[in-house]
C-alpha cells in the first residue's frame, strides 16, 4: 500500500521473512522439489566401510549391469581434477583413489533411474581393502605428529615469564565435543545439462561460487560453463559452505557423460556419515592470577580434530585463537593452535567457526580462577574485562567498541543475578541431590572473514520501466532472513515500498566471484553492496531530473514512493518511466570490500575484524545429581545487533542460535566407535533440542546500541554470535559439578563429574 508518510517494509521494520507464506502453504521450492524431467538420473555414493585402508581391488561389473543403472563413476572417470578441497590443498578427493582416509568417504557413485535402484546396485560392488592403522583421536594424532597444517601462535607480553611471577597459578584441560549441523534439508543438487556441454546446477549451498569452481575443476572446463543457482536452503549453519560441492560435482559428471539431468540427495544417515561437522577441541592451559582474580598471565593450547583433510580448519582454528580472550584483557598471553589430522570425516565450518571453542576455553579459566579464590565467578569476569586503558588483544587489535561492561551490568540487574545466586546457594544448602546453578557469561565476537579476500560482495539491481525492482546479490538464503533484510535496505535506499522489490535466487551468472554466506557477514556485505547499487541508481535518476527538468540538485527529492522535482511531484513509477523514455540506464551493480582489515599470520598480529558484536546471557539450571539430568529453567539474554535492521528476524536468530548452542553443550553427542565409524548417524541416537527443551523462562532483549563503524544502517551482524551465549548454560551446570565436566554435558558426563553420592 503506497503511503505518503513513509514506506512499508523499510529498515527497522520487524516483518517476517519474504517466503513465510510459501513455507506455511508448502509452495516454497527447495532443490528436491524442483520438477525433474522423466529421464533424470538419481545418484548414490558408496561410503567407505573403513577409516583408513588401501583399496587393493575393485570389481564394479555387477553394479554396472544392475537394474536401472546408467552410469558408474570412479576416480578414473574424472576428466578434470579429482579434488574438491576449498582452499586448493589437494587433499579432498571427490572419489577415493587407491585408498580411503575415513569411514564414509565416497569410493564410487552410481547413477540409476531411481535412488532405490542406485542404492541397491551399489551393494553389489566387490571391493577388497587392506586396512591401515587409523588415527581416531586428538591424543593419537598428537603422539604421531599428525597435522593438517602448521601451528599458529598469537601472543602479547611474556606469558611464560609472568606465569613464574604470578601469585597464584592453575593448570587444566578441557575436552569439547563436535556437533552435526542437522540442517533439516540434507545436501541436495540437481544438474540440468545445457548446450555446449554446459551445466546448470541447482544446489543447496551457502557458497555457489565454490560449487561452480569445484564443478568446473572436476569436469575440466572453465567456470563460465557452469552456472549455480540457489533460491533457498532448508538450513545451512556452515554445513553447506564447503560440503555441498562433492554431490554437485558427481551429479554434474553424470549430466555431462549421459546428457541426462542428474540429481543427488543424501539420505540422512549418509549425510551425517559423509559430511564434516564442528571440530572437537582439546584445551590445555596454565594461568597466573592475583588474589583479586585478575589474570596476569595465560598460556593456552587449542588443539582441534580436523579429520582427514585441511578443508577450512586453518581459519577455524585461527578463529578459536582470536576468541580465546573473549571479553578479557590478559596482558601476558600466549595461545597456540594445533590442527590434528585424524581418520575421520573432515571437520568444517559450523556457526561460530572455532570461536565457540576458544570462548569455552577462556570461560573455563575464569570459573577455575573464581573457584580457587572462592569468589563470585561474575565478579572475576568483570574484574578482567577490557577497558579504556587495557584494550589491546593478544593479536594486536585495539578493542574500540567495547560495550561488554555495560551489557553485563544491565543484564546483571535485569536478571536479578545477585539475589538469585544467593537464593540458589540457600537452595543447594537445603537439598542433597537436586542442585541449582547460575552463570552469566559475556561474548565478544569479531566480524569479518579472517581470510581477507573473502570480504567482498556484489549486488545487481534492475529497475523496470513500470517502477518495479529486481534484486540480486551474492548472499544465499538459508532461513536467516538475509534476502528480506537486503530487500529492506534497498527499499529504504530507493524510498519505495518493499512489495515492489522482487527478491531473486542467488545465481553465479548474475553476480560472479561471490564469497560464502558465512562469518555472519551476509547482511553486512551484501546489504552494503545492494545499498551502493541502489545509490548509483538514485544518483543517475537525480542527474536525469536536473538535466531533463532543468532544476537544481536541491530541488530533486526522493520522497516515499514518489519523487518531487521542483514543484512537480511524480509517483516513483511515473518518474522511472520518464527516465526510461529519456534512455537512462536503470540497472546497476554494487560492490563492497570491507575496509580497515588486515592480519599477518607470520607475526600473529593485525586487525582481522572491522568490529565486534557483543552480548551476554544468564542461565539457571537444575541438576539431578543422582541421574545427571539437567534442566535449563531460566535464561536471560541481552544482545547487541547495533541498530536492528529487522528486530523480528534478529530476535529469531538470537533465540535459535542460543538453543543450537545449548544443544552442542548438552544433548548433542557425536560418538565414534573403535573402528572409526560414527555410531550416532541419525536423530534416533543424535539428539538435537526439541520443543520440550526450551527454558520455561526465556527473556531476550536487544541492547540499545549503534555500530560505531560505517556498516549498513549502523547494524551489526547477528548470525553466529548468539550461539556462544549458550556457554552460560554449560557454566551453570559446571557450577553444580564444580569441575571435571567435559562438553557436551550429557547426563552421563554430569553424573561422572558429580561422582558417587557420599
Amino acid at each position: 500500500m503506497s503511503n505518503n508518510a513513509s514506506i512499508n517494509g523499510g529498515v527497522g521494520s520487524g516483518i517476517s521473512h519474504d517466503s513465510t507464506k510459501k513455507h506455511a502453504n508448502g509452495t516454497a521450492v527447495y532443490v528436491d522439489d524442483i520438477r525433474v524431467p522423466e529421464n533424470a538420473l538419481h545418484l548414490y555414493a558408496f561410503p567407505s566401510p573403513h577409516a583408513h585402508a588401501e583399496i587393493t581391488a575393485m570389481d564394479l561389473s555387477e553394479v554396472e549391469s544392475a537394474d536401472g543403472v546408467a552410469l558408474v563413476l570412479t576416480a578414473d572417470d574424472i576428466t578434470g581434477m579429482n579434488d574438491v578441497s576449498p582452499t586448493h590443498s589437494g587433499d579432498d578427493p571427490l572419489l577415493a583413489d587407491g585408498k580411503v582416509m575415513f569411514q564414509g568417504q565416497a569410493i564410487f557413485a552410481v547413477a540409476a533411474d531411481s535412488l532405490n535402484q542406485a542404492r541397491a546396485a551399489a551393494q553389489l560392488a566387490k571391493i577388497s581393502f587392506k586396512p591401515l592403522p587409523a588415527i581416531l583421536s586428538i591424543n593419537e594424532a598428537l603422539a604421531q605428529d599428525s597435522f593438517v597444517f602448521t601451528p599458529q601462535v598469537m601472543a602479547q607480553g611474556d606469558a611464560e615469564g609472568e606465569l613464574k611471577n604470578a601469585k597464584n597459578t592453575l593448570s587444566g584441560k578441557l575436552n569439547i565435543g563436535g556437533q552435526d549441523h542437522f540442517y533439516l534439508e540434507g545436501q541436495a543438487s540437481l544438474v540440468i545439462p545445457q548446450e555446449d556441454g554446459d551445466v546448470l546446477v541447482h544446489c543447496s549451498t551457502q557458497h555457489p561460487s565454490e560449487v561452480q569452481t569445484h564443478v568446473a575443476q572436476v569436469l575440466g572446463v572453465e567456470r563460465n560453463a557452469v552456472t549455480v543457482e540457489v533460491r533457498r536452503m532448508g538450513g545451512g549453519f556452515g554445513g553447506k559452505e564447503t560440503q555441498a560441492s562433492p554431490w554437485a560435482a558427481l551429479a554434474a559428471m553424470t549430466a555431462q557423460k549421459t546428457g541426462r539431468p542428474a540429481k543427488m540427495r543424501l539420505v540422512r544417515d549418509d549425510d551425517m556419515i559423509m559430511t564434516g561437522k564442528r571440530h572437537p577441541f582439546q584445551i590445555s592451559y596454565e594461568v597466573g592470577f592475583d588474589d583479586a582474580g585478575i589474570v596476569t598471565a595465560l598460556d593456552m593450547t587449542l588443539v582441534s580434530d580436523c579429520g582427514h583433510s585441511l578443508d577450512l580448519s586453518r581459519a577455524i582454528n585461527d578463529r578459536a585463537l582470536f576468541h580465546a580472550d573473549n571479553c578479557y584483557y590478559i596482558p601476558n598471553m600466549r595461545v597456540t593452535g594445533l590442527k590434528c589430522r585424524t581418520n575421520k570425516v573432515s571437520n568444517t565450518a559450523f556457526r561460530g567457526f572455532g570461536a565457540p571453542q576458544g570462548m569455552m576455553a577462556i570461560e573455563e579459566v575464569m570459573d577455575q580462577v573464581a573457584q580457587k579464590l572462592g569468589k563470585d565467578p561474575l565478579a572475576v569476569r568483570q574484574a578482567n574485562l577490557y577497558n579504556a586503558s587495557n584494550n589491546t588483544t593478544h593479536y594486536g587489535m585495539v578493542v574500540e567498541d567495547n560495550v561488554a561492561p555495560e551489557i553485563i551490568a544491565q543484564l546483571k540487574t535485569a536478571s536479578n543475578y545477585d539475589k538469585r545466586r544467593a537464593e540458589i546457594e540457600e537452595f543447594n544448602a537445603n537439598n542433597e541431590f537436586v542442585k541449582k546453578g547460575i552463570a552469566l557469561t559475556p561474548l565478544k565476537f569479531g566480524i569479518s572473514f579472517t581470510t581477507k579476500f573473502l570480504n567482498q560482495a556484489g549486488a545487481l539491481i534492475h529497475i523496470y520501466a513500470d517502477g518495479s525492482v529486481q534484486l540480486n546479490h551474492g548472499g544465499t538464503e538459508m532461513g536467516q532472513g538475509l534476502f528480506t533484510k537486503v530487500a529492506q535496505i534497498v527499499a529504504n535506499t530507493l524510498n519505495i515500498d518493499l512489495e515492489h522489490i522482487k527478491i531473486t535466487a542467488t545465481n553465479t551468472g548474475k553476480v560472479p566471484n561471490t564469497s560464502p554466506t558465512a562469518a555472519s557477514s551476509g547482511t553486512d556485505m551484501n546489504g552494503m553492496a545492494a545499498k551502493l547499487a541502489a545509490e548509483k541508481l538514485i544518483d543517475r535518476l537525480r542527474q536525469f531530473a536536473i538535466e531533463h527538468y532543468g532544476v537544481a540538485e536541491g530541488d530533486v527529492k526522493f520522497l516515499p514512493n514518489r519523487v518531487k522535482v521542483g514543484k512537480q511531484t511524480f509517483s516513483f513509477k511515473e518518474f522511472v518511466n520518464a527516465a526510461y523514455m529519456e534512455r537512462i540506464q536503470l540497472s546497476a551493480t554494487g560492490f563492497y570490500a570491507t575496509p580497515k582489515i588486515n592480519f599477518d599470520p607470520e607475526t600473529g598480529k593485525g586487525r582481522p575484524f572491522l568490529y565486534f558484536s557483543y552480548g551476554a546471557s544468564v542461565s539457571e539450571v537444575e541438576v539431578d545429581t543422582l541421574t545427571g539430568e539437567a534442566e535449563v529453567v531460566r535464561v536471560d539474554i541481552l544482545h547487541d545487533v547495533g541498530r536492528s535492521l529487522n528486530p523480528t528476524i534478529d530476535l529469531g536468530q538470537i533465540e535459535g542460535g542460543f538453543i543450537q548452542g545449548v544443544g552442542w553443550l548438552t544433548n548433542e553427542e557425536l560418538f565414534w566407535n573403535d573402528d572409526g565409524a560414527l555410531a550416532t548417524h541419525a536423530p534416533s541416537t543424535y539428539k538435537i533440542p526439541t520443543m520440550g527443551d526450551r527454558p520455561d523462562i526465556f527473556n531476550i532483549t536487544l541492547f540499545d546500541n549503534e555500530n560505531m563503524e560505517d556498516t549498513v544502517y549502523k547494524s551489526k551482524a547477528v548470525g553466529e554470535p548468539p550461539f556462544m551465549l549458550a556457554i552460560s548454560t554449560y557454566r551453570a551446570i559446571w557450577q553444580v559439578t564444580k569441575g571435571n565436566l567435559d562438553a557436551p554435558a550429557t547426563p552421563e558426563a554430569i553424573l561422572k563429574a558429580c561422582g558417587e553420592p557420599s
Binding site: 506455511a24 528436491d32 540442517y183 538459508m478 536467516q480 533465540e655 543450537q660 520443543m691
Partner: protein
C-alpha cells in the same frame, strides 16, 4: 509386485498401481507432484513429513502407499485455497513461526492434528506445555521453538473459537 491402490488425496480420488515398497511420501512427491511434504531424516524421527491420514497426523516417510489404501490423506497443499491460508498456516505467517521453513509443513499438520484431537475430546485450548508435548516429535533446527509454540497457540485458538 505392483498393487492397485485407491485413496483420497486432498479431496481428490487417486488410483494408481504401485510397487509394495513405495513410501507414501515418495508417492505424493514424485507421482502427484505434492512437494510441500518434506523429507528430512528418512526415519520418522523429525516430523518434517507429517500429514493427516484419516484426520490423524502421521509421518509419511515410514508409511507405505499400500498402507494408505482406502484412506483420506490431507497434505499441506490441501489445507487452503491459493489465496486464503488455513488458520494454522496463517498463524505461522503472523508469528514468524519459522526460519528456513523446511519443518513448517510438518509443524502445521502436527498442530492441526493436535487441535482436532482436542476438539474431538472437548478438551479446549491447549496450554503452551501441552503444545510442546504434542509437537515434541517435530524438530526444528533454526528457531528455539518460541514462535512455533506461539503460532500453534494462535492457530488452535482460531480453529477452536474462530478468532485470532
Amino acid at each position: 509386485m505392483a498393487n492397485n491402490v485407491s485413496l483420497s488425496v486432498n479431496g481428490k480420488s487417486v488410483s494408481a498401481s504401485v510397487e509394495a515398497n513405495v513410501l507414501l511420501v515418495d508417492f505424493l512427491r514424485d507421482n502427484l507432484g505434492l512437494t510441500g511434504t518434506n523429507i528430512a531424516c528418512d526415519t520418522s524421527q523429525c516430523g518434517s513429513c507429517t500429514l493427516l491420514l484419516d484426520g490423524l497426523p502421521v509421518k509419511s516417510c515410514s508409511l507405505l502407499v499400500v498402507q494408505a489404501d482406502g484412506c483420506d490423506v490431507i497434505t499441506i497443499e490441501g489445507l487452503a485455497s491459493e489465496t486464503v491460508l488455513h488458520p494454522m498456516q496463517q498463524a505461522f505467517q503472523d508469528n514468524h513461526g519459522l526460519q528456513c521453513g523446511f519443518c513448517t509443513p510438518g509443524m502445521v499438520m502436527a498442530g492441526i492434528g493436535m487441535v482436532e484431537r482436542r476438539r474431538a475430546a472437548g478438551s479446549g485450548l491447549p496450554s503452551d506445555e501441552e503444545i510442546r508435548s504434542a509437537l515434541e516429535g517435530n524438530i526444528c533446527r533454526c528457531t528455539g521453538y518460541h514462535n512455533i509454540v506461539k503460532s500453534v497457540a494462535q492457530g488452535a485458538k482460531t480453529m477452536l473459537q474462530g478468532e485470532g
